[in-house]
Symmetry: C2
Subunit: 559 residues, 2 copies
Amino acid sequence: MERLRAARRLLHYSSSKSLFGPRSNPTSAEHPLRRSASGVWYWCPYIADQKGRFGGTFWGPTVGTGLGKTIRIQNRRFGSLAATIQRNPSFSTLNSDDISYFKGVLGEKNVIQDEDWLLSANTDWMRKYNGSSKLLLQPRSTEEVSRVLKYCNSRSLAVVPQGGNTGLVGGSVPVFDEVIINMGSMNNIVSFDEVSGILVCEAGCILENLISFLDNQGFIMPLDLGAKGSCQIGGNVSTNAGGLRLVRYGSLHGNVLGIEVVLANGDVLDMLGTLRKDNTGYDLKHLFIGSEGSLGIITKVSILTPPKLSSVNLAFLACKDYSSCLKLLLEAKRRLGEVLSAFEFLDNQSLDLVLNHLEGVRNPLPPSMHNFYVLIETTGSDESYDKEKLEAFLLRSMEGGLISDGVLAQDINQASSFWRIREGVPEALMKAGAIYKYDLSLPVEKMYNLVEEMRIRLGDSSKVIGYGHLGDGNLHLNISTPQYDDMILAQIEPFVYEWTSKHRGSISAEHGLGLMKANKIFYSKSRESVQLMASIKKLMDPNGILNPYKVLPHSLSYG
Amino acid sequence: MERLRAARRLLHYSSSKSLFGPRSNPTSAEHPLRRSASGVWYWCPYIADQKGRFGGTFWGPTVGTGLGKTIRIQNRRFGSLAATIQRNPSFSTLNSDDISYFKGVLGEKNVIQDEDWLLSANTDWMRKYNGSSKLLLQPRSTEEVSRVLKYCNSRSLAVVPQGGNTGLVGGSVPVFDEVIINMGSMNNIVSFDEVSGILVCEAGCILENLISFLDNQGFIMPLDLGAKGSCQIGGNVSTNAGGLRLVRYGSLHGNVLGIEVVLANGDVLDMLGTLRKDNTGYDLKHLFIGSEGSLGIITKVSILTPPKLSSVNLAFLACKDYSSCLKLLLEAKRRLGEVLSAFEFLDNQSLDLVLNHLEGVRNPLPPSMHNFYVLIETTGSDESYDKEKLEAFLLRSMEGGLISDGVLAQDINQASSFWRIREGVPEALMKAGAIYKYDLSLPVEKMYNLVEEMRIRLGDSSKVIGYGHLGDGNLHLNISTPQYDDMILAQIEPFVYEWTSKHRGSISAEHGLGLMKANKIFYSKSRESVQLMASIKKLMDPNGILNPYKVLPHSLSYG
C-alpha cells in the first residue's frame, strides 16, 4: 500500500509553475573567471565575493585590468609544489628579437604584452595556479601556429597552448615564463555535412557556439560540459573532456574522426579525416586526444555529431542504499536501453549541502530518510512514448523496491530545478569552506566503499561526500572542512590514491593530470606504460617545449 | 494512388513460411579455410570446389594434412609482389637451439613443426598469400608470450602474430620464414561485470564464443563480423575490425577500454583498465588498436558490451537513385535515431549478381526497375512500439518519394533471407569470375560517383558493382571480369586509389593494410604522418621483428 502511494506520487507529481527557477548555466555558476567578447578574462563577482579559503589558497588584492574590469589575484601559496619544480634550464628566455619575429608573423595586435591581459591568462580559473609569462600569441591560422612553433623550437622557447582556460589541474596556464599560445582567434566552422553529421571546425571554437550552430542544423554535440560557455573544442579534445553525454555517446576517442595538429618542430600533421572508418596505419590522432597539448597543438577538429532528438525526460529518485542504485543502473541500461542519456547520483550528504548553501534550491521529494538520490534522463525521438516508457520503468522499479520515492519532471523548469541540485554540488561545496576534490574512476560496484572508508578515517573532522556520473563509473569524492589543514590532507593523501590504485581505478577520470597530478601518474599507470609515454614525448618533442612540467612525472620529463 | 498501393505492399507483405531458407552463416559462406576443434585449419569444400581464378591466383593440387583433412594449396603467382620484397637480411634464421629454447618455455606440444599444420598456418584464407615459416608457437599465458618475444628480439628472429587468420590483406601469415605465434590457446574469459557490462578476456577467444557467452548474460558484443566463427578478439582489436554493428555502437577505439600487450622486447604493458573514463597520460592502447600486430602482441582485452535488446526489425527497400538513398539515410538517422542499427545498400547490379549466382535467393520485391536497394535494421527494447515506429517511418518515406517500394520482414526467416541478399554479394562475386576488390571509405555524398566513373572508364569489359555500409560511408567497390587481366588492372589502379585520395577517402576502411597495401598508405595518409608512424615503430620495435613487411611502406620499414 505504501509502495502504491509512492508510485502515485511518482506519476502525479504536481506540475506547479517553476518552483525553483530556470536551470542555471553551470558556466556562470562554476567559473569565476569569464571571458569578455574581446577575449579578455575578467573576474565574475558571483563567486569572487565569497573570498573564502579554497584548497589552501588565499585571495589577493583587487587589480585593475586594461579594459576597466577588475580581477582579484591570488598570492601563490599553493602547498609546496612551486618549490619542488625548477624551471628547465635548457629553455631560453624571451628577448626583443623574439618579439619582433612574432610581430612579423602574426601582426602587431596579435602579440600581446599587456600586463593585465597577461595576468588573467597566467591564472587558471580556480585561481590555484599562476605563471609569469610575458607574452601571449594569438595565431589566426594553422600556418601561423606552425611558424610560431618552428621558431620556438629552434630557440628552445617553451610554450603553453591555451584554449578557454577552464581546466581544473593547472594544465592550461604557464608554470614559469612559457609563451602562451591562445587559440581563440581560430574559431571558424570549416564545414558541416548534414547527411553524415560530420562537423569540421577550428580548434578555438567555443563549445557553446558549436552547440548552437548544430542546434540550427538539427544536430547536437556528443559532449556537453559545465564550462561550455568558455571552453574551446581544441581544449576539449586535447584534454579528452568527458561531461554529461558520455554515457550515451561515448568518449571523444570514439567521436573525433580527425584532427589537424602542429608538432613541436612546426610540422603540420593533417589527419583531418571525415570518415567513420579508416584502417590505414596507426591511428595517431588518439595520441593527441587527452595528451593535454604536450605532443602538439590541435588546430582543427573533425567530429561526428548525432542528430538532435526531440524528447527529453528526467526523473529525480531516492534509493535506500548504494546497492539499490547499482541495481537500478543495471535495470535502466537493460530496459531503457537506447533512450538512456544520463544516470547521475548523489548521496544524502551532497543533497544536504546543496539545500543548506544554495538559495532557491528545494528537495522535490517530501523530507524523509533516503541515503541516495539518482537522476535518470532519457532522450529519444517520440515524446509520448518515451515518457510512457520511463514511467513504466519507474513504476516497476518502485514496485521491485529499487526506488524508495521519486518525481518525474513535468516541464523544462522542473527538469532544470532537478539538474540544479546535481550540478549545484560543486558550488555548494565552495560555499561550505575548504574542499579537497578528487575526480576518480572506479569499478562501479566498489566505488562508494571509498566514501565510506574515508568517513571512518576522518571521523567528525570533515564532511565526506560522494556524487558523480554513476553511469560512467566516475566518482567525485569531496572532503569539506571549515578550513584547509595539512593534517587532514595527510590523512587523505596518499590514501585516496593508493585505494584507487589498489582497485585499478583512475586518479583522474575526466580532468587530466596537468601540473597538479603529473607526479601521481604511477597510481594509475604502470612504470612500463609511463616510460613509453616519456619515450614518445621525447621522440615528438625532443626539446620538451610543449606544455612543460605537465602530464608526465618531472623526473622523466627533462633533466 | 500508385504510392498508396506501394505503401500497402510495404505493410502487408505476406508472411509466408521461410521463402528462402534460414540465414546462412557468413563464416561458412565466405571462408574456405576453417579451423577444426584441434586448431588445425582445413579447406571447406563449399568454396573449394569452385576452382576458379581469383585475382590472378590459380588453385593448386590437393595436399593431405596430418589429421586426415585435405587442403588445396595455391601456387604463388600473385602478381609481382613477392619479387619486389626482399627478406630483411638482418633477421636470423631459426636453428635447433631456438627450437630447444621454445620447447623449454612452452612445452613440447606447443612448439609446432608439423608440415601440414604449418602449410595451413602459412596460408591466408583467400589463399592469396603464403609464407614459408617452419615454426608455429602456441603460448598459453602472457608470461609465455613475453618470454618468447624477449628471446626472438635478442636473436633477431622475426615473428607474425596470428589469431583466426581471417584477414583479407595478407597481414596474418608470414611473408618469408617468420615464426608464427598463434594466440588460439589463450582463450579464457577473465571476468564479466554485469552492472557495467565490461568483459575482460584473453586475446585468443573466438568472437562467436564471446557473443554466445554474452548472450547468456543478456549482453552483446559491440562488433559482429562475417568471420565471427573463426576470428579472435585479439585479431579483431589488432586490426580495428569494423563490421555490421559499427553504425550503432561505433568503432573499437570507443568500445575497447583496455588491453594487455607484450612489446617486441618482451615487456608487458598492463593497460587492462576496466574504466569508461581515464585521463591519466597518453592513451597508448589506441596505438595498438589497428596496428596489425606490428607494435606488440595483444594478450588480453577489456571491452564495454551493450545490453541485449529484444526487438529487431528489418526492411528491404528500393530507391530510384543514389540521392534518394542519401536522403533516406538522413531521415532514418533523425527519425529512427536511437533504434537504428544498420543501414546497408547495394546497387541493381549487385542484386542481379546475387540472383544469378546464388541458389535459393529471390528478390523479395516484384520485378521492376529499381536502381538501388537499402536494408534498414532497427534494434530496440519494445517489440510492438519499435515495429510501429519503423512502419510509420517507411510509410512517410514512401509518401515522400524516397522509397519506391519495400517489404518489412515478418519473421526471422524473412529477415535472414533479406540479409542473405546483402551478405551474399561477395560469394556471388566469387562465382561470377575474377574480381578486383576495393574496401573504401569515402564522403558519403560522393561515394557512388566512383562506381559510375569506373563504369565509364571500363566500358563493357567489366561489371562494376557497388554495395556496402552506407551508414558508415564504407563502399565495397568490386569489378567482376570473366578472367584476370593486367590490362584491366592497369585501368583500375592507380586510378581508384588516386580518386579515393583526391576525395580524402581511405583506401582501407576496415580491412587494414597488411602486406597488400603497405606501400599504398600514402594515398590516405600524409608523408608527415607516415614518417611519424615509422618513427614510433622504430622506437617500439627497433629490430623490426614484429610482423615485418606489413602496414608501413617497405622503404621506411627497414634497410
